[in-house]
């Protein structure tokens, strides 16, 4: 019975088709007629969202630096609160499809250097004031300029100005074409705030929930916005908090003290899966962790050394044993299969090959190297140790220096010749490539500056022909795969947990629990 419920749950979550569901129940010895009955009951539940209930969410990180200013959002707890409190112009829904949010419609000129957004009318902020084009232009302008502390400004670097055309129309003027702009506007930092806001802790947005209380590092409470501009959330209220200890977080979910959690770690997955009250939701993403080898200094300036480090990655084993299957094999470039057609599936995976690794190592003449490892993402420490062990087998001693993640990005990253790195999934394949590999970019952390790469990044944004766009993306992925100093053995899934009472969580790979979209679309079985 427990298994049947599990399969019903998977069917409701859209993780299993009708055919698979019937086959799975058949395997359990359930007759076809009875299985059809279970299917109908699962479907009925899937079709009728119920209103009401308080959803309690626990995030893996929180602290006194929790923010309510969307521009400097950095962690899942900020993003979740942001999704509840604010709206963006455009949103990403199931299957990575762009959908209108505060922008009713948008259009670009022929060469994608000028975008016009029609802002929805009749939308009100929580303080009762109406949303106008001024609010949108003011909000978006905060991301522009060298001094802007926006954590997403790299995505909007092409924009020179946001112009107010009339009370409900704004234009974005670009210095160079960007056909990806609408997708970039779905990022969590681009939520629209009231013009002139100074104290963001009040959370004056247009979103589905009104912020009731906000204590950084403790918790926040939110109540349903009765005045929302569309049908709105199913929950009556939200409680958002943090439980930093992974095991404590999983236990709280299983014991029913919280309904949703992010980051179920490898040790807790089995615990949650074997419980009767909660389930694991694992979504393939293009986020990755890997080893960053600086190309502007020894030993990374030697191409053979980098090749050796790439061939020594036992990718299948990393996905199978370290990530427990919750990941996909990486190919030393950042665009994973989660990007669908934008992923270059033509490029063969660089297989684990100790002989080739040894050949390249001997050729490089490098005899020792030191890797700085901090737990920047789950699994990276184990990946480094596996790499060290495999290198030892071919007679190379890799020294591993363990450092704390506290202060890592300022003290180690982009400084030490070999370090570990973690990158989240960006809204488009181009953005994913640009952030880390644009020549002379701020975050070019392997210091690999390739002119052809720079040209392609720009040209692809101006190209509208799908086949040519893909060819360009594929060429860029191949360039990174062959030339950069990045070792990307695996893309990691987003592994979250939810109570079996929670249904309707969308599947969007850009963050926890449907990229925070659960806030508005999920619902609770009474």
């Amino acid at each position: 019975m427990k298994d049947i419920r599990k399969f019903q749950q998977m069917y409701r979550d859209g993780r299993m088709g009708r055919r698979d569901f019937m086959a799975a129940l058949g395997a359990l010895g359930v007759g076809t007629a009875a299985a059809a009955g279970f299917l109908t009951s699962a479907k009925a539940l899937a079709a009728t969202p119920q209103k009401g209930g308080t959803a309690r969410y626990a995030n893996n990180l929180h602290g006194p630096d929790d923010q309510m200013d969307p521009m400097v959002f950095t962690s899942g707890i900020d993003y979740t609160r942001g999704r509840a409190t604010y709206n963006g112009l455009i949103q990403m829904v199931d299957g990575m499809v762009l959908a209108p949010e505060l922008a009713e419609e948008w259009s670009a000129n022929a060469d994608a250097t000028e975008y016009t957004f029609k802002i929805r009318k009749g939308v009100e902020f929580h303080d009762g004031s109406a949303l106008t084009a001024d609010d949108v232009a003011w909000t978006m302008s905060r991301h522009i300029g060298e001094e802007s502390p926006s954590t997403a400004k790299a995505l909007l670097a092409a924009i020179t100005e946001w112009k107010v055309m009339d009370s409900h129309t704004v234009k974005a003027m670009l210095s160079s074409p960007d056909s990806d702009l609408p997708a970039k506007l779905t990022e969590k930092q681009m939520k629209i705030v009231k013009m002139g806001t100074e104290d963001f802790r009040k959370g004056n947005g247009t979103g589905p929930f009104v912020l009731e209380s906000f204590e950084p590092g403790v918790r926040s409470t939110h109540v349903r916005n009765a005045n929302y501009w569309r049908e709105g959330a199913n929950f009556d209220a939200l409680e958002i908090t943090g439980i930093t200890d992974p095991l404590a977080r999983a236990n709280a979910l299983i014991a029913g003290d919280v309904d949703l959690i992010n980051q179920v770690n490898a040790k807790s997955i089995a615990l949650v899966e074997s419980s009767e009250t909660a389930r694991v939701i694992s979504t393939p993403t293009s986020a990755y962790t890997g080893i960053c080898i600086l190309k502007n200094t020894a030993p990374g300036e030697n191409d053979d050394f980098v090749k050796a480090m790439q061939y020594i990655q036992d990718r299948d084993r990393i996905v199978r044993s370290i990530l427990k299957g919750h990941g996909t094999v990486g190919n030393d470039h950042p665009v994973g299969p989660a990007f669908g057609p934008d992923h270059c599936s033509e490029l063969p995976i660089r297989e684990f090959d100790p002989d080739k690794a040894k050949f390249h190592l001997d050729k490089s003449g490098v005899t020792a190297a030191e890797l700085f490892v901090a737990p920047v993402r789950l699994g990276i420490e184990e990946i480094s140790l596996l790499m060290q062990a495999n290198l030892k087998k071919i007679g190379f001693d890799l020294t591993i220096r363990k450092v704390p993640s506290d202060g890592y990005w300022g003290a180690v990253w982009m400084k030490e010749p070999m370090n570990v790195v973690s990158w989240n999934m960006r809204p488009t394949a181009n953005a994913q490539l640009a952030i880390q590999f644009a020549p002379h970019g701020n975050w070019n952390d392997t210091f690999w500056h390739n002119d052809r790469m720079g040209e392609l990044l720009k040209a692809q944004l101006a190209e509208t022909d799908e086949a040519k766009r893909h060819a360009m993306l594929c060429e860029m992925q191949t360039l990174v795969h062959n030339g950069s100093g990045m070792v990307i053995p695996a893309h990691v899934n987003e592994v979250d947990g939810a109570s079996n009472k929670i249904h309707g969580i969308p599947t969007v790979p850009f963050g926890a629990l449907g990229a925070y979209e659960w806030v508005e679309f999920a619902w609770m079985e009474a």
Binding site: D65, G217, G242, D257, D406
Partner: protein, 323 residues
């Protein structure tokens, strides 16, 4: 007279200690790599945005100037603003506003533990001392030694596994919003309090037993035994009063630990207390917040140890009337 002068001397020493600690904490936190601006912007920092944010947060002043500004604010009763939450030119949260609910939570948990643990531990410790070598004494000695050696995260995790997950009697997290009263509050506090009672009482028990037994070897106890005083009376009237000094000190240290050192328990039960706040503040290099927490912890130690010393002076006529 001696009490008053001791009080004055102790107060002056306490203030001096606080000052030294504040300097040490300030220097220590400044030595750590990165500052608030680094931490807020994290992986997404650029040199320009870092410089802009530093100016906004007043971090471009030299360190000693920032320390003096903090000190003069403190002397005028202003704890300042938390830098980490300030982010983008938004006013940060006033530190007093962040501290108060946490301080209340910490006192609540520490108080609950103290009310249960201190009488319980002293009684059991005395019982063990009254009947040394008996089965009861051996049992107490072995279990307390075992529990002291088990790290508290293990105790906490085992309790969660059994009481919250398997039996479902109590919530797995001690999440409290501040509005809970009566039974709800007791339920929320029960798990972390139980963990800490186990950890804290073991030490008090052992210390009570050891000091009382130590006194039992003194000549005047031998005298009491020889003149036929019952054992119970010897322990309660003669030995305990003379052992109070060290016991009071170990209780004070344990109470101070309950205020400042319970970060592991706070993390496992997601209990919003002061210790976790200080760790978070260090991780975000939020100096004013680190300083405020450090001052509270330091003051707690000073006051509690002062009280313990007073108790031992008062309980000892030789110290009460020095020659």
């Amino acid at each position: 007279m001696t009490l008053l002068s001791a009080l004055l001397r102790r107060t002056a020493l306490g203030v001096a200690t606080l000052f030294v600690v504040s300097v040490l904490i300030f220097v220590g936190t400044s030595i750590l790599p990165g500052d608030v601006a680094n931490i807020i912007l994290g992986q997404m920092a650029t040199p320009e945005s870092l410089a802009a944010l530093r100016t906004k947060l007043g971090l471009d002043e030299p360190a000693h100037i920032r320390y003096l500004i903090w000190l003069s604010d403190l002397l005028s009763g202003d704890l300042g603003f938390s830098k980490a939450g300030a982010g983008t030119g938004t006013v940060g949260t006033p530190i007093s506003e962040m501290l108060m609910p946490r301080l209340i939570n910490t006192i609540r948990l520490g108080g609950a533990v103290a009310i249960v643990a201190v009488p319980f531990a002293v009684t059991i410790g005395l019982l063990a001392a009254m009947y040394p070598g008996t089965r009861l004494d051996r049992f107490v000695t072995f279990t307390t030694l075992g529990l002291i050696s088990v790290p508290e995260f293990l105790v906490a995790t085992l309790l969660v596994l059994v009481i919250a997950v398997q039996l479902g009697w109590l919530p797995a997290t001690a999440y409290i919003s501040g509005q809970e009263t009566g039974l709800k509050l007791v339920r929320a506090l029960a798990m972390p309090a139980l963990t800490l009672v186990i950890v804290a009482s073991s030490q008090i028990m052992r210390m009570t037993r050891a000091t009382v037994l130590n006194v039992m070897n003194s000549p005047y106890i031998e005298m009491a035994i020889l003149k036929g005083v019952p054992r119970r009376r010897i322990i309660l009237r003669h030995a305990l009063l003379n052992a109070i000094g060290p016991i009071a000190n170990v209780i004070a240290l344990n109470l101070a630990y309950l205020v400042s050192g319970v970060v592991v328990v706070e993390t496992i039960f997601a209990y919003p207390g002061l210790a976790k706040l200080m760790i978070d503040a260090v991780q975000t290099r939020d100096l004013p917040l680190v300083q405020a927490c450090a001052m509270i912890f330091c003051a707690t130690y000073i006051v509690l140890i002062f009280i313990a010393d007073m108790v031992s002076i008062l309980s000892n006529p030789r110290l009460r009337h020095p020659k």
